[in-house]
Symmetry: C2
Subunit: 193 residues, 2 copies
DNA sequence: GTCTATAATTTGATAGAC
DNA sequence: GTCTATCAAATTATAGAC
C-alpha cells in the first residue's frame, strides 16, 4: 500500500495521505489520550499494520516523532485558528473561535490538547520537545493578547495568560470529571469582560 | 535503618517516618515531576536505598501505589487547606489560601499538582486511580463553590469550576514557559469579582 | 519502505532465603 | 522488611535482506 485514501466531505477530491502523516495522526491521537510515555512504537506501528522497525525509518528516535508531533500540532492549530477567524465579525468572535478549538478537542474528538498533556509530563521529555510545547503556549498567549486588545478589554496580556491557562486546565478537569459543564464554565470565564 | 528522622521547624519534636511514608514521598515527588508512566519501582527504591522487590512488599502492584498516592495527596491537600483557612478573616482570604497551595507547589516545591499530572495521563491509568483524581477535582470545586458563595460572588458554582480549571492549567503553562507571571495572572483572575 | 532478526535495557512482578 | 535471583514481557533501537 502506498497511500491511504482520504475523502474530505467538503472537497470533491481525493488526497493521498503519506505514511508519515498517517503515523503522525495515530501517534497524536494516542498521546493526546494517554501521554508520551504510555505510547510505544510497536503500538503505533500495529495500528497502521506495519512493524515498529519500519516506523524507525520515518522517525529514527522517539524524540524525533515527539518533536514533529508538537510542531505539526502547533501548525495545524494555527491554521485552524486563522481559518476560523478570517470571517469573524468582531474580536469577540475570534476569542469564541479560539475557545471552540478547545471545545472541539474535548467534546468532538474526546481528546486533550497535545501540548497540555506533554506539558504535564514535561520533565520526562526530550528538551527540544519541551521547548516546542512552551512555544505553543506562548504563541497562544500572544494571539489571545491581541484579541483581547482588539476587543477593548483591560489588562489584555494578563487576561490572555489566564485565558490560556484556564482552557488548558478545563480540558483536564472536564475530562477527568466527565462533566462538560466544567469546560463551559471555564469558557464563559474566558469571555467575560 | 528503621526510620528516617524528620525535624519540623515548628515542632520541637522528632518524628519517625515510616518506610511506607518515605516511599510515598519519593513516588509523589517523582510523579508530580514526570508523570505516572515515567516513574519505575526500581527508581523509587533506588532513591531510598532498597531494592524494587522490597517496594513490592509495601505496594504489591503499581496501581496500589498510584491509588494510595492520590488518596494521601488529597487528604494532605485538604488538611493544609483547613489549616490555612481556620484563622481566615473573611472568605476572600480563604480563596487566597486555596490559590497559595497551588502557588507553593509551583514556586516553592517546583512541582505540579499530582492530580493535574495524572489527569493528563488519565486514559493510561488504572480506573480507580482515575476515580480518585476526579474526586480531588470535585472536592475542590465544591470547596471553592462554598467559598465564592460566602464571599457573595455571583454564579458561585460556575466560578468554582472555572477557578479549579484555571489553577490546574496555570501550573502546566507557567511551568512549561518557566514564567511565573502566567500563574500570577491566573491567580488574579480567580480572585476577580 | 517494509521486513526479519536481534540486541540491550527496562519494567512490573514473584519465589524463597534471611 | 529486605535481600538475591529470576522471569516474562515490553521497549527503544539497529543491521541487513528484499
Amino acid at each position: 500500500m502506498i497511500g491511504k485514501l482520504v475523502f474530505f466531505y467538503n472537497l470533491s477530491q481525493t488526497i493521498i495521505m503519506s505514511q508519515r502523516e498517517r503515523i503522525l495522526d495515530i501517534a497524536e491521537t494516542s498521546m493526546r489520550a494517554r501521554g508520551y510515555n504510555a505510547v510505544s512504537f510497536r503500538e503505533i506501528a500495529g495500528e497502521i499494520g506495519i512493524k515498529s522497525a519500519s516506523l524507525h525509518y520515518h522517525f529514527p528516535k522517539k524524540a524525533d516523532l515527539g518533536l514533529e508531533l508538537v510542531k505539526r500540532y502547533s501548525e495545524n492549530f494555527r491554521t485552524a485558528l486563522n481559518s476560523a477567524t478570517e470571517n469573524a465579525a468582531n474580536p469577540i468572535e475570534k476569542i469564541e473561535a479560539f475557545i471552540d478549538l478547545h471545545r472541539n478537542a474535548l467534546i468532538e474528538q474526546e481528546l486533550l490538547c497535545l501540548c497540555v498533556v506533554l506539558g504535564a509530563e514535561a520533565r520526562s521529555l526530550p528538551e527540544d520537545v519541551n521547548s516546542s510545547v512552551a512555544n505553543f503556549f506562548q504563541s497562544n498567549i500572544n494571539w489571545l493578547t491581541d484579541a483581547y486588545q482588539d476587543a477593548g478589554f483591560e489588562n489584555a496580556p494578563s487576561r490572555a495568560k489566564a485565558g490560556v491557562a484556564t482552557l488548558a486546565g478545563a480540558l483536564i478537569a472536564s475530562d477527568s470529571l466527565k462533566d462538560n459543564s466544567v469546560f463551559e464554565a471555564a469558557a464563559d470565564s474566558v469571555l467575560k469582560s
